[in-house]
Every structure is written in structure tokens, then in C-alpha cells.
């Protein structure tokens, strides 16, 4: 199989309300990614775009609308989506473009502009539910994740304070990220527990913020990548998995679709003992409990045991298994598709030793990024190594 590497990355600031259009955000991220590896748009053979629901932007066929901003003028261009998992899926899409042998250099762009949905993007999520059985109940994402968080806590006897450690760690980590929206070096567990209750057990600081932003990475096939850079970061494994739409029939305590996606990626990367072979993890953390949930689904923690790892400091930047050294969605922000690709960019910078104040010590060799989405339904996993 053709080896594929990430050779460049760029990202815009994540903000609550960008003045730029979605096209402009995409262009900014794409240009930074190209400049980071000294390529121009003429070097790009094809473009892959990730953006989550069209309803945020209120643009039908949003991929077509964003295509020129993403650099796809007169080029092969496709947009993929798997809901919230899109950000980590779109590099997988780039991977198969290159690994298939059809293209040598592919630009991967993820954009989200949630602020166009006025007054708040939360209302757009009403339309993700089944039109007959669920929409009449007017469900809201916070409520269904409150259900899931509650189920997780009840199944394993986990407390809200344990889970709040994740929000504290990530928002503190984000204080070192120049693009972050909600970094706070002084946040405490008490602050999280005392923040406003949105839908019990979810408090305001348990949730990532609605944001605008874009991220881009450049992928290249082996013989091209080694000419572009001395420090290519290889895509060693990819996995994705979609569970049934009938989420109400699912045991919410454990994300088996994440496990299936992870197993696919581990197998492809030849990883037998993920807890020893993965050095940095960027699991999807739109809510603080999700980071723990996903560490368990990724087989990096025993079921119900991830909270203890966070409390013990194992997942700190200088711990045994640094988790979300970027600051994650909780700290950097959550422009849905862009947030997932931000995790890929973070692993890229960390493995190259270019993460600045966020750099994980000990020259990590292999990292994993994961995203999740739809109706608590899809897992997407990418494993990268140098």
C-alpha cells in the first residue's frame, strides 16, 4: 500500500463569531497549510473538504459553495461528512485519495461557521433527529448528552467532580494555544461544578463552546513527502465505524462504534498493545465526560476507569499518556469539522516537536486523533507516527 504523510498544517483562530465568510476561513487555513510546506495551490492534485451540517451556514450544497475558498477551482473536489466525526474523517478521505494511487498531493480542509445560525447554533440540531419519532419531542443535544453522561456516571459510580478534572485540564492546556477561544490557566474543579446547570448533570463548563474556524492539512505520497519535508508524519492507521440510527436502543455507557473504529486503525497500523504504543491521544471532547468515554472506547483505559487516570494526572501533558495537549474542543473551541482536524494538526505539530508551549516532553513517536458524532453513533480514528 502507498504510504501517505501529513506534510503541512494551518489553522485559523477559533472564535465565537468570525467576521469572515466560510469561504474566507477555508482560504485562510488552506493558505497557511500550503505555506507551512512551501507549496502553492498549483501543486495540489485534489481537494477534500469536511464541513458538518449545511443548516449552520444555511447554504444548500455547502461543499459546492465552499469549493473555491478551499482551493478546488478546476480540480477534483469532494466533500465527505459523518456528522461530528467529520473532522477526523476528512483526513481519512485525503488518505484514500492518495493511497488509491489516483493523486500524489491532496489538500484537506475542514471548515465550520456556526455563528451564521442566529441566535444560537443549538437550534439547528433539532433537525438531526428522526422526523416522526423524535422531533415532536423537541430534543436538544445537551439533553441527550446529559442522558449519556448520566448513564456513564451511574454504570460505573463516577462523580461529577472526577469528570470536571477533564474540563480543568483541557481549558488549562488551551491557555498555551494561540488559536484557542476558552483557555484559562487558573480554572479549578470548583469553578466547573459551580457553573450554571444546563441540563443536569451537564454544567456550562462541562461543554465546549460554539465556534467558527477552519483547519487545513496537506497530505502527500511517500516519494513526494520526503522531498517536501525532512519530518513527514505518516498516517499509519485509519478507522471509522457507524452504528445504527436507533440510538435509543443503544447502551450509552460504552461507545462500541469507537472501539470498532479503533480496532480497524490499530490493525492497519500493526498496533498490538495500544496503551504502550500510543504516546499522545487527542480524543474527541465536546463534553468533558466524552474524553473519558472515548479513552475507554479506544481501549486506552479499562471501562469506568478513565476518570481515575485524569484525577491521578496520568493524562496531563507531562503524564504517562498525555490526552488533549492542545486543549481540545473544551479549550480551543468546537467549530465541529474544524475541531476534529485541529486534533490531526496538533498530533502533526507534537510529533514534529513544533508545538511550542504545548509540546509534550519525551519526543513522542506516535499519536492518535479521534472524533465522534451523529446520534452518538460514529467513531473516526487516525493514527500518525514519525
Amino acid at each position: 500500500m502507498r504510504k501517505v504523510a501529513v506534510v503541512g498544517a494551518g489553522m485559523t483562530k477559533f472564535v465565537r463569531r468570525a467576521l469572515e465568510t466560510g469561504k474566507e476561513l477555508s482560504w485562510q487555513a488552506a493558505r497557511m497549510a500550503l505555506e507551512s510546506c512551501e507549496l502553492t495551490i498549483d501543486d495540489i492534485d485534489a481537494v477534500c473538504l469536511g464541513t458538518a451540517p449545511d443548516s449552520f451556514d444555511g447554504v444548500h450544497m455547502n461543499g459546492e459553495y465552499l469549493s473555491d475558498g478551499s482551493g478546488a477551482w478546476r480540480k477534483p473536489f469532494m466533500r465527505s461528512y459523518v456528522g461530528g466525526g467529520t473532522g477526523v474523517f476528512v483526513p481519512i478521505q485525503g488518505w484514500y485519495h492518495v493511497a488509491s494511487g489516483l493523486f500524489d498531493i491532496v489538500l484537506v480542509v475542514a471548515e465550520e461557521k456556526m455563528s451564521s445560525y442566529y441566535p444560537h447554533a443549538q437550534a439547528a440540531f433539532l433537525t438531526i433527529f428522526d422526523h416522526t419519532t423524535e422531533r415532536p419531542l423537541k430534543p436538544n443535544l445537551l439533553w441527550i448528552f446529559a442522558l449519556e453522561m448520566n448513564r456513564y456516571m451511574q454504570t460505573y459510580g463516577i462523580t461529577k467532580a472526577e469528570i470536571a478534572h477533564v474540563a480543568v485540564k483541557n481549558k488549562r492546556n488551551a491557555a498555551d494555544h494561540p488559536c484557542a477561544l476558552l483557555g484559562d490557566p487558573n480554572l479549578t474543579v470548583e469553578d466547573v461544578l459551580n457553573s450554571e446547570v444546563l441540563a443536569w448533570p451537564v454544567n456550562r463548563l462541562d461543554v465546549s463552546p460554539v465556534s467558527d474556524g477552519a483547519v487545513a492539512v496537506v497530505l502527500a505520497v511517500e516519494h513526494v513527502a520526503t522531498r517536501i519535508t525532512d519530518k513527514p508524519v505518516w498516517i499509519e492507521g485509519v478507522g471509522w465505524n457507524l452504528d445504527t440510527a436507533h440510538w435509543t436502543n443503544r447502551d450509552l455507557a460504552y461507545p462500541r462504534y469507537v472501539e470498532f473504529a479503533a480496532r480497524m486503525a490499530y490493525e492497519m497500523a500493526g498496533i498490538k498493545e495500544p496503551r504502550r504504543e500510543i504516546h499522545i491521544v487527542e480524543p474527541y471532547d465536546p463534553f468533558d465526560y466524552k474524553e473519558l468515554h472515548h479513552l475507554e472506547g479506544l481501549l486506552l483505559a479499562d471501562r469506568g476507569k478513565a476518570p481515575q487516570m485524569v484525577v491521578d494526572g496520568v493524562t496531563q501533558r507531562d503524564g504517562d499518556l498525555p490526552v488533549c495537549p492542545s486543549g481540545g474542543l473544551l479549550g480551543v473551541g468546537n467549530p465541529i469539522a474544524a475541531a476534529g482536524l485541529m486534533k490531526i494538526a496538533e498530533i502533526f505539530w507534537q510529533l514534529r516537536g513544533e508545538a511550542g508551549a504545548r509540546q509534550v516532553p519525551g519526543q513522542p513517536k506516535r499519536g492518535l486523533a479521534q472524533a465522534w458524532g451523529d446520534l452518538m453513533q460514529v467513531g473516526t480514528v487516525v493514527i500518525m507516527g514519525r
Binding site: 449545511d54 478546476r74 462504534y257
Partner: protein, 384 residues
Amino acid sequence: MHDRVAIIGVGWSGFRPVTPELSYKELIYEAAVKAYADANLDPRKDIESFVTVAEDFYEGTSIFDEYTPDQLGAVLKPVHTIGGDGLHGLATACMLILTGQFSVVAVEGHSKASNVKTLPQVIGYAQDPILNRPLRFNNHFIPGLDMNRYLFDTGTSLEQCASVIVKNRRNALVNPSAPYGADLTLEDVLSGEPTAWPLNSHQIAHHADGAIVIVLASADRVHSFTDKPVWVTGVGWCNDSPALENREWGEAIYAREAARMAFRQAGMLNPGRAIDFVEVDDVYGYKELQSLEAMGFFRRGEAGKATEEGFTHPDGELPVNVSGGSQGFGDLLDANGLARALEVVLQLRGEAGPRQLESVSTGLAQSWRGVPSASGAVVIMSGE
């Protein structure tokens, strides 16, 4: 890495103007069951990944990929959705197989256009929200402008455009899956109600409901499923400018570039000779002529004349849209491309019934994503 990909099974449901007794899930289920039976496989055991094509606003559901796995037998499998035409989905399935990580992949596309109460308004939401939407263009106004420019540049006549409609709707009379077959005269077509001059109501395809599922496999697995594989020898796709302000009006550059990419892969130096028949975009009648010229089957301005003279009729030198095209089987939204690919497969297998072409071995399917896009895809298939 796998080197060749073949289509091993096809299934479809429809196509019909309305399907009040079926949900989109039931349409897809019907198509999927037929495709899996055709490929002689069990989706849960044999299919390793699934690709679907859909757009949220057509479905009335955000992040529509949520609702794709159950009716396909794809639960807990690698499934993803492409916001593109069915041929983009087919190209994606080919790429997945060519990586060597997957051997059997299924593609699904559907239309439930009859469910959309406000389809013109929904399509209007695809226009640039800042620069174009405030001008309140009617959707047909954009292809109307494009057609006008095409006629002006190439000297193609309105009668020549109308002859496309006459041909395709007659072809549809012998396609049992096509609901819009009709025996029209040039005068009938030309006397349609004006929509956005030079377009009139008879040159715009009517919408239809339907679903198509296609199963593909790598060369080493093909023969464990079928003895009549149809090989995919080239895929190509391209986006021209999405902005109305700076695109090349009157030309289908997306079709030209997509076809060049596909010809290159198929190793075709003289596609006009190598390809026996084509299924092309004809959602607006003139698009058939414009796309044929863009792909190089005719010089600019000659496709209309060729159509008039019967060159593109089922018994002509280069049969075009033997299925009836979108004029005949209906505008299936993003499933249009898969409907064209389906026809190519049936013809190459010799299973097209009364509309079967004689001695065809290579066919091409091309599709466009509709107003206001300038994007499309091409797939070349061969029976050998």
C-alpha cells in the same frame, strides 16, 4: 494495492414521480436487497465498507448520514457519506478498493424529491447567500443564461436542443423504469411554456423518486461473486467555479476536466472511437449537447446537428441516453449519476431488454450536480 475494480451487482427501486406508499428507507432497502441478490452476497458478511451520497436539505434532515446504515445492512461498519453526485460516490468506492484495505464496497444514492414541498426554494438556498441570494434568481434563470450563451457561442439552434428531448423521451418509452416516456414532436417541445428564455418547460426534467445501490469488488474477489463483471476503467471529477460571477458561461468545463481525468486513467487516446455509448447529463435538454462537446465527442457546435441527424439515436453511431436520460427517467437529484451508471452496466451485461444496444463493450456515464453548481463526474466502464 488492488489494481482493478469491477461492478458485481446492481439494484434499483423506481423510478416514479411519486412514491407515497414508501419511505426513503424502504426505497433504499428495496434497491439494496436487489443489488445484494444480484451480487450473490450477504452485506453483513461480505461488504467491508459503504458509501452513500446525500445532501441534508433535500432530505430535510441535518447530518443525514445518521440515517444511512440500517436499511443497507451496514450497521457497525465503515460507512460514510459524500455530499456529491452518485458518480462521486462510485469514484470514492473505487478509491477505497484501490487502497488495498477493502475488497468489496457498496454505493447508495436515492431521491425522494416528491417529499420536498418547497424544492425550488431549497435549491435556491444553494446560491451564494451574500452576493446572489438577495437578487432572488429563479433557479431556472441560471441554466437559462448558460443555454443562451451556449446557443450564441456555438450557433446551436432551439430545434436542435428540442431534438434531444424528443429522442430521450422516446427512448424512455422502452425503458420500464422510466416514468416520463412520451412520443413528442419538435413542435410539441418548442411550444412549451417559456420558463427562462431560451429554456421552456419541456426542456426541464421532471423530478422522480428512486434509489440505486451498486456493489463493487477488487479484481481478486470479483469471480467469487459474479461471472459478468463490469470493469470500472476510469473515474474523473472536477469542480469549476461555484461563483456565478467568474465561471465560463456556455461551457461545461467540469465535464471536460472530469472526462480528461477518466480518459487518462482508462488509457484512451481516442475516446470517441473507444466508447460505444454514453449516458450524459440532460436535466436541461441543452446540457446533453454541451456536455458531449465538452467531453470531446463532438466539436463545439456539432452535437446539435448530430442529434438532429440521428447520430446519437439508439441505432446511431454513438447512442446517447438510451435509458431516456433524466428527461425520461426523471431528475433523481444526486442519484442521477448512479441511474446513468446503472444503464451502462445493464447495457454492457446485455440485460437492457428491448432497448439493448448491439455489440457494445465500453460505455461512459457523466453527471452534473445541478443548479447552481459547476461540478460533475465521469465514469468509464467496460465489459471486458
